[in-house]
């Protein structure tokens, strides 16, 4: 074209970023890569090809990692770990800082290589991914520095295994490697099969930081390599990827004692109220669903727009879609690049093609003739039941529905199995701050979307996984308490004596459900004997229906979460007061059950109630120092309904230690007492007299294993804890995979309920989810 012709057309010409340096780096490795283990690249083994999705051209041969490769990498990491953990914090901080600087110094090389391998626009890898990587290492250099003084009683887990996805290859590496190393762990990371190159470049470049060998290991391969890593001798698995694989990992690691964090899929709502800045909300959608070709776990993929403005909003949106430029990802003038692989393109294509309902609008923007490209698509007029409204498409496809009221917006937003992120657009601060806490999501963006920072926790609830990445809360997932717990001896049931001592006045303990005493559904009871053969009473044999009823009652009491923390503190003080009034009775009951004096346990229980009454309004969230004009609020929200298997060894203190932190934070609970259940069943009379709303605390006695299985498999329970001396940990973790509820189990380890480890922040953090609410401001 002549200049005159361009002058008339004002077309954007090509503006390609050169791939020469990135290709030269690949060529220096002779187009073939082994793993990076113990500070060196291994000889390539059996390989597969990684390609440029924009052109289909092969980039390099990558080694398919075997179980043996994984074992070697874990061995190297294991060898390196003690020395790495023993380094002064400052030394680890130095290494992390050096990594941050190296990422910056090689930023264009990383960006170009990422775009070649993944297909994302060079603008995104250059302006978003790589700067966030540098920021993550830099921030974690700071965490490493401060860790010993801030958390002197925490220790690294050991060797961490990380399995990461292909949508943000280097950024997800940073999210795993930075906290693992900062906490004193070593790591074996498996990058995604489609996008291994930047991880290998990072390993290569880590040598320029002088990172000790074995601290960072990269094993490449497909899902089978990842599975081998999950099964390997590691102390933690950190996984980011699909919900289905996340569930498999939950099952595979059940009972192993491996720590686990899962960051999984989503179908995140994007809510536009009628008083929003509509043009900005439209632009936000470009950053939500047309960022990274829509291959973003937290993509705002479910548009909910207030009915009165829907036609106008959709018109604006379609016009904006038509202006999106799709093409060569290395071109500095395009908005949308290539989908990562033909397989993914096929998945998106099939999902949309097989669900023709609703009105499909495809952006009037030209598509390249070849390569993995999918046009920006808007689908309106769908119902909540439409598969496209429920399933994660993981592509540039936006689905839209309307709502009438804020209440309905929240209901529709939460009508999903997922709970990763949510976006809210309104100019009304009252509305925004009212809606944000009601959304089931780990992250909420107000009048913005897809904001990320190392200081702000990121992660999901429900089937979007558990654990946070970023901030102190993220680092905690790479640490464990310094204490070395002893094995917990199983509590043997007291057998029926030959001639029981019987008190003629019958006292029948019932179940306690919804604030009422309830007979067990089974109609069966079992006697409870004291160690000296005294028949102390009967307790009901609860079954799955009793658990069902208790969970329903716990949900019906969800208003508890909305009461003020002051109010919850008052209720806890009142419980303590009433327990104190019945001190002698509870002490006697403890003595009858255990054969030991009970006074000290009652005292400790009253004190513990005071502890959590104190905590109720002091377990504060945080306002994170994120690099925007605005605030990122880390709000501690209740987990929801928690099922808990109570300890056998402390019939009263165990109950109080588990119940009090949970309800102090606004949860409702279903408690399953242990082998000496009568203190728990006596306790409902204390609850009845202490202004505890019905359903906040529910008590179901019965066989621990059966009830644990039902609770862990219940799809409307948000967390299950177990301190039982029964070996229930594996069962609970495996059954929990169904809805990916959080679990906190003892793996057969004891806890000293009277000491410091019987209370405090460990309990509070398990009783809460951190929700990060981003609120940019400015007028």
């Amino acid at each position: 074209m002549t200049i005159k012709e361009i002058f008339d057309s004002m077309a954007y010409g090509p503006a390609p970023e050169s791939a020469a340096e990135a290709l030269a780096w690949i060529a220096r490795h002779e187009d073939r890569f082994g793993h990076y283990i113990d500070g060196a690249f291994t000889a390539p083994g059996e390989t597969f090809t990684t390609s440029n999705p924009a052109t289909g051209k092969p980039l390099a041969q990558i080694t398919q990692g075997t179980a043996e490769d994984v074992a070697n990498a874990v061995k190297a990491a294991r060898r390196a770990q003690p020395k790495w953990a023993a380094l002064p914090a400052f030394r680890r901080a130095e290494y992390l800082y050096a990594l941050a600087r190296l990422v910056q110094k090689h930023s264009r090389l990383f960006a170009t290589l990422e775009t070649l391998d993944n297909g994302k626009p060079i603008r995104e890898s250059r302006d978003i991914d790589i700067p966030l990587v540098a920021r993550h290492f830099s921030y974690h250099a700071g965490l490493a520095q401060l860790l010993p003084s801030e958390h002197p009683d925490m220790r690294p887990l050991g060797v961490c295994g990380a399995v990461i996805p292909w949508n943000f290859p280097l950024l997800m590496l940073a999210w795993k490697v930075a906290p693992a190393l900062a906490a004193g762990n070593t790591i074996v990371l498996k990058p995604a099969e489609y996008t291994p190159l930047t991880a290998l470049l990072f390993a290569d470049i880590s040598r320029e930081a002088g990172l000790p060998r074995g601290v960072l290991n990269i094993v490449t391969g497909d899902g089978s390599t990842g599975a081998a890593l999950v099964d390997a001798e590691v102390d933690k698995i950190a996984f980011t990827g699909s919900t289905s694989v996340g569930k498999r990992i939950r099952e595979a690691t059940a009972g192993t004692g491996k720590a686990l964090t899962l960051e999984l899929g989503g179908k995140s709502p994007y809510i536009v109220f009628d008083d929003a800045d509509l043009d900005s909300a439209v632009e936000g959608l470009v950053d939500a669903i047309w960022f990274n070709q829509g291959q973003v776990c937290c993509a705002g993929s479910r548009l909910l727009v207030q009915e009165g403005i829907a036609p106008r909003f959709h018109d604006k949106l379609k016009r904006r879609m038509d202006g999106l430029r799709i093409g060569d990802p290395l071109d500095k003038c395009i908005d949308i690049g290539a989908v990562v692989d033909p397989v993914q393109l096929d998945t998106i294509t099939r999902l949309v093609r097989d669900n023709p309902e609703g009105e499909h609008y495809v952006a009037a923007t030209p598509l390249p003739a070849q390569g993995c490209f999918y046009p920006p698509t808007l689908i309106t007029g769908l119902g909540t039941a439409s598969p496209l409204m429920q399933e994660e498409i993981f592509g540039p496809v936006l689905v839209s529905m309307t709502f009438r009221t804020p209440e309905e917006a929240v209901a529709l937003a939460n009508n999903t199995r997922y709970g990763l992120a949510a976006t809210v657009w309104t100019e009304n601060i009252n509305l925004a701050l009212d809606v944000a806490p009601k959304l089931k999501a780990g992250v909420v963006w107000i009048n913005a979307t897809n904001l990320f920072d190392a200081a702000a926790g990121f992660g999901g609830v429900r089937e979007s996984g558990f654990g946070r990445e970023g901030g102190w809360e993220g680092l905690m997932a790479y640490l464990k308490p310094a204490r070395k717990p002893a094995a917990l001896k199983p509590a043997a049931p007291i057998p029926a004596p030959a001639e029981p001592v019987v008190d003629p006045l019958d006292r029948t303990a019932k179940l306690y459900i919804g604030g009422k005493q309830a007979r067990p559904d089974s109609g069966y009871s079992q006697p409870v004997y004291g160690p000296r053969g005294k028949l102390l009473g009967h307790v009901g044999i609860g079954n799955r229906k009793d658990i069902r009823n208790a969970v329903e009652a716990a949900h019906a009491a969800k208003g508890w979460a909305k009461t003020t923390a002051y109010n919850r503190a008052q209720v806890l003080y009142f419980i303590a007061e009433n327990l104190s009034a019945r001190h002698a009775e509870f002490a006697a009951r403890l003595r009858d059950q255990t054969g030991r004096p009970g006074e000290a346990e009652v005292d400790a229980s009253i004190q513990r109630l005071f502890t959590y009454a104190a905590w109720a309004d002091k377990y504060d969230g945080a306002a994170k120092s994120v690099p925007i004009r605005g605030i990122a609020l880390a709000m501690n929200e209740p987990v929801g309904v928690i099922g808990a298997l109570l300890p056998d060894e402390a019939p009263l203190l165990g109950l109080v230690s588990v119940m009090a932190p949970a309800i102090a934070m606004g949860n409702t609970v279903v408690l399953v007492p242990g082998q000496r259940p009568l203190s728990a069943t006596d306790f409902y009379q204390v609850l009845d007299t202490s202004d505890v709303p019905g359903g906040v605390v529910n008590i179901v006695t019965g066989p621990a294993e059966d009830l644990a299985r039902t609770l862990a498999g219940h799809l409307d329970v948000d967390a299950v804890w177990s301190f039982s001396s029964h070996p229930l940990s594996a069962l609970i973790e495996r059954e929990a995979a169904g809805n990916l509820k959080r679990t906190w189990v003892n793996h057969g380890r004891a806890r000293n309920w009277t000491g410091a480890e019987g209370e405090g922040r460990a309990f509070l953090s398990q009783a809460t989810e951190v929700k990060t609410v981003w609120v940019p401001y400015g007028e």
């Binding site: 005159k4 503006a15 929003a276 940019p776 007028e779």
Partner: protein, 343 residues
């Protein structure tokens, strides 16, 4: 010259020129002129502008678009055709204005324009104070470059109302084909939309066939929400263009302000069918900035807003930087200011 209605004044030959080099362009020749509409206060009240979000869009725009090589040269030439070459100084003299007009006729060295295949390119208009209008009109005789006059007590807009209205008539009589009026900022700051609307209506009427650009002085309006609402009210009052600044405020044209104003233009067109022009003024001094503005117009409003009848740069030093970049494009060597004729 002045006073000819755009649609009737153009002959077919000029129309051809318009679509190619866009020289000698009268405003609003290809689109019907915005007649204005009744003040719609509900609409005004419903306008929102989220500052943070607008700033984010503005901040990422330069990273989203890139124009290179011959495309960049063509885009820079386009930018020249859109410049209102401006002098608005207390020490302006006829000699100074004549020199500026000569530069407007020949903004780039002829050898460069020849090599670029764009001989005869001129700037969009010349913008001066009322006292300089006649000088400028004479100096531009034989070209089709319109003269724009800043009017209505520029830059503060606080001289007596009747004088401000009279000033418009005088400038039109003197040959100005475009009038850049300043609005009363106090009407915006006190949310007195009726007063702003009435003022705009009166000024539009005083302009007659001359086209009116409403200067909002956005740097003095406090919030982007005010900018958005004032933009809308001025369009309702019949503005042909809305313009950011006088160049005399502490803050002049910015990308966030521009985004806010052109979104108002888009909404106005969607509701009424009339296209209103946009003129950022002040602070746009670099070729690179000009390219960003052009991408903003292209992406947010589309191709019609890359033509001088709907888009102008109010700028005095921008041209010099563009000349240097064009020479670099032609020779491969970085250029120097002294190699290009002063304006």
């Amino acid at each position: 010259m002045g006073g000819g209605t755009a649609g009737t004044a153009m002959d077919p030959e000029t129309m051809t020129t318009l679509s190619t080099t866009a020289t000698g362009l009268l405003p609003q020749v290809t689109h019907p002129r915005n007649p204005g509409m009744a003040l719609d206060l509900d609409w005004v009240a419903s306008v929102q502008a989220n500052t943070s979000a607008i700033e984010r869009r503005a901040a990422t725009l330069p990273g989203r678009r890139s124009v290179k090589k011959e495309y960049q040269a063509a885009w820079l030439l386009k930018a020249i055709s859109l410049i209102d070459l401006t002098t608005l100084s207390g020490d302006d003299t006829p000699g100074r204005v004549q020199r500026l007009c000569a530069k407007a006729r020949q903004p780039v060295a002829p050898w460069m324009l020849d090599k670029l295949g764009m001989p005869g390119l001129t700037v969009g208009a010349v913008c001066v104070y009322h006292e300089m209008v006649e000088t400028a009109v004479r100096a531009l005789e034989g070209t089709n470059i319109p003269v724009a006059a800043v009017s209505t007590g520029f830059p503060a807009g606080l001289s007596p109302y009747r004088l401000r209205i009279a000033e418009i008539g005088d400038s039109v009589k003197a040959g100005a084909r475009e009038i850049d009026i300043v609005i009363s900022r106090r009407h915006v700051l006190t949310q007195n939309w009726q007063a702003l609307y009435d003022e705009m209506r009166d000024m539009r009427e005083a302009c007659g066939d001359a086209h009116v650009k409403a200067i909002l002085a956005t740097g003095e309006l406090g919030t982007l929400r005010n900018v958005a609402r004032a933009s809308l009210v001025c369009m309702m009052g019949g503005a042909d263009f809305i313009k950011t600044s006088t160049g005399k405020e502490a803050v002049n044209a910015t990308l966030p302000v521009s985004l806010t104003m052109i979104r108002a233009i888009r909404d106005y067109e969607a509701r009424t069918g009339y296209k209103v022009g946009y003129k950022p003024a002040g602070g746009i001094a670099k070729a690179k900035d000009a390219l960003v503005y052009l991408t903003l117009m292209k992406d947010e409003l589309g191709h019609p807003w890359l033509q001088p009848d709907l888009f102008r740069f109010g700028a005095s030093s921008l041209l010099g930087d563009i000349e240097r970049q064009l020479e670099h494009h032609l020779t491969g060597h970085y250029s120097a200011a002294n190699r290009h004729a002063m304006g």
